[in-house]
Amino acid sequence: MAEAPTHNTEDYLRMYRQMVRIRAFEDTANQLYLSAKMPGLTHMYSGQEAVAVGICAALTDDDRITSTHRGHGHCVAKGGDLKTMFCELLGKAEGYCRGKGGSMHIADQSHGNLGANAIVGGSMGIATGAALTAKLRETGHVAVCFFGDGATAQGLLYEVMNMAALWRLPVIYACENNGYSEYTRTEEIAAGSLTARAEAFGIEAHRVDGQDVLAVNALARDLVERARRGEGPFFVELETYRYHGHHVGDINRDYYRSKDEEAEWKRVRDPIVNFGTWLEAEGIVSADELVAIGEAVKDEAAQAVAHAEAAEYPPGSEVDMHVYKGVDHALAYI
């Protein structure tokens, strides 16, 4: 664990709890898939919790993030509510997007989450644009763009990093390097160094252990404050690991990733276990308190998913709503 910054117990517990909530959400979502209750597929964030939580804990609700196809963790970490999220995953009317987006498009505007994106790299412009708004309107807000190692192969990243650097925008490019894009190792798709690419634009770049929530949070708090002062943009590569397959249906994956490798990450570098151990060792919480948090979160997730399963689907009349703002039903308009 990195050196503890000036946190109080409440901050630590909030971060711990948020990581546990993400894990519980994903475990429950995986069960929904395995029991054929969830339409479509979904990409699990388990293993990467310290990235989303460490960064989002440094942000306010007015700071914006953009998320990815592997976005449940970002949504929870930015303040999302499990019930509303499960409703969205099941296509229910109470979902964040009234069931129109699903897992890959969850957006939670009330907490500054501008949305997950099913186009790899598709939200890099959006995050940069949110930072442009912050600069033009002098709001003091910051934008964080989450994306995977695979997304660094998209040209859009280099276009927007160039503009962000030219215009000194308050945006942080957070590259979650989990070692794989789909079924391909990062070494096979990324030449040279990812941080050096950002540095070529004059962007200050960092590498950090993405399994260490304190290290991530300490770096994020520093960069967010500096970005607010106009010292951005920044680039951060977070070394992390996804525990599940690329998506919930990716079960037999020996051909691209060994079971030994997966077991080793879980055994040695689990972000929740390690942070829990540290909290205990520092005397911040007791083992019993950690267990109690785990139990409470499990209940929360169980209630949330039960609610979502019982919730109503949107009525068919909503199918052509929300196509255009200011137009009730698009089919009667276009």
Binding site: G95, M124, I126, N162
Partner: protein, 332 residues
């Protein structure tokens, strides 16, 4: 009161007025500031509004369109300048997957009030990658609105409406019309979307033209009137939304229609309008609805070839004659 103004000046005025009215409106694109774009449409704006609101970008079309989407989602109203309509292909993901779908995918929470202004139109001897009219491409995508001004008057009124719209709007200006003048009111006005304009009244045939094709239709109508054929000319002004009522009403009256748009004919705007007329006015029609568009070839460079690819008043008038005289002959 009105005065004659060029289309270029009309666009410039619309943007300047809206930027004065609303501090969240800003411009973004290549060479929009000091250069005022290669067509000089935006000249003078950076002097009034500064480089903070008239922002020159690198040559990164997907990048700056994406940035506009994010800016629009978070409380500003960007006007993106896409130097040539042909560059739409470069920005398709940001425009069609992101801007167009954000409001829907978020269940009505994240709207994108941005304008993408670009151009269209051949016969500038600019060859295949600077001459296309790609409005059908974006009109196909739910979530986008599409405006096609046919004169300085429309250019100003539609631009002001576009800037105030809470959705992504793509405006196509015909790059050969920038210096064309038309009467433009001195006082402020807006042109609502989805309201076609009847540019000339007539009873024998309806000529529906978009953008510069309105002039083609008007010239054809003039030629026809000398022969006793009275053509009605209608400008839909916006493709999305489309004022179906005005078009259908006219066709019910005239029983014949020709649709003219400078995009490629196949799978295009004209086919869409013809299909809607068939659906809504079939039993009123005395002849099939005909379509005129750009020839279905890449736009050639040589003037000898390029001029063959665009609809002309002569060709439209000739087709109208055959329809009105009941002479349209189908191949067996």
């Amino acid at each position: 009161m009105s005065r004659e103004t060029t289309l270029s000046k009309a666009v410039n005025e619309a943007i300047a007025e809206e930027m004065r009215r609303d501090p969240t409106v800003f411009l973004l694109g290549e060479d929009v500031a000091e250069a005022g774009t290669p067509f000089k449409v935006l000249s003078g704006l950076v002097e009034e509004f500064g480089t903070g609101r008239v922002i020159d970008t690198p040559i990164s079309e997907p990048g700056f369109v994406g940035i506009a989407v994010g800016a629009a989602m978070t409380g500003t109203r960007p006007i993106v300048d896409l130097m040539f309509g042909d560059f739409l292909y470069l920005v398709m993901d940001q425009l069609c997957n992101q801007a167009a779908k954000s409001y829907y995918m978020s269940g009505g929470k994240l709207n994108v009030p941005m304008v993408l202004r670009t151009n269209m139109g051949a016969t500038r001897r600019s060859a295949a990658q600077h001459s296309q009219s790609l409005q059908a491409l974006v009109a196909h995508i739910p979530g986008l609105k599409v405006a096609m001004p046919s004169s300085a008057y429309e250019a100003k009124g539609l631009m002001k409406t576009a800037i105030r719209d809470d959705n992504p709007v793509v405006i196509f200006e015909d790059k050969l019309m920038y210096q064309d003048k038309a009467p433009v009111p001195e006082e402020e006005y807006l042109i609502p979307f989805g309201e076609a304009a009847i540019k000339r009244e007539g009873g024998d045939i309806t000529l529906i033209g978009t953008s510069s094709m309105v002039q083609v239709a008007l010239k054809a109508a003039e030629a026809l009137s000398a022969e006793g054929i009275s053509a009605e000319v209608i400008d839909p002004r916006t493709l999305v939304p489309l004022d179906e009522e005005t078009l259908v009403r006219s066709v019910k009256k005239t029983s014949r229609a020709i649709v003219i748009d400078e995009g490629h004919r196949n799978y295009g705007v004209t086919g869409e309008i013809a299909a809607r007329l068939n659906e809504r006015a079939f039993y009123h029609l005395d002849a099939p609805v005909l379509r005129f568009g750009a020839m279905d070839v890449p736009v050639p460079f040589s003037p000898a070839l390029e001029d063959l690819t665009v609809p002309t008043p002569e060709a439209v008038a000739q087709a109208a004659r055959t329809l009105c005289r009941g002479e349209l002959i189908h191949a067996a």
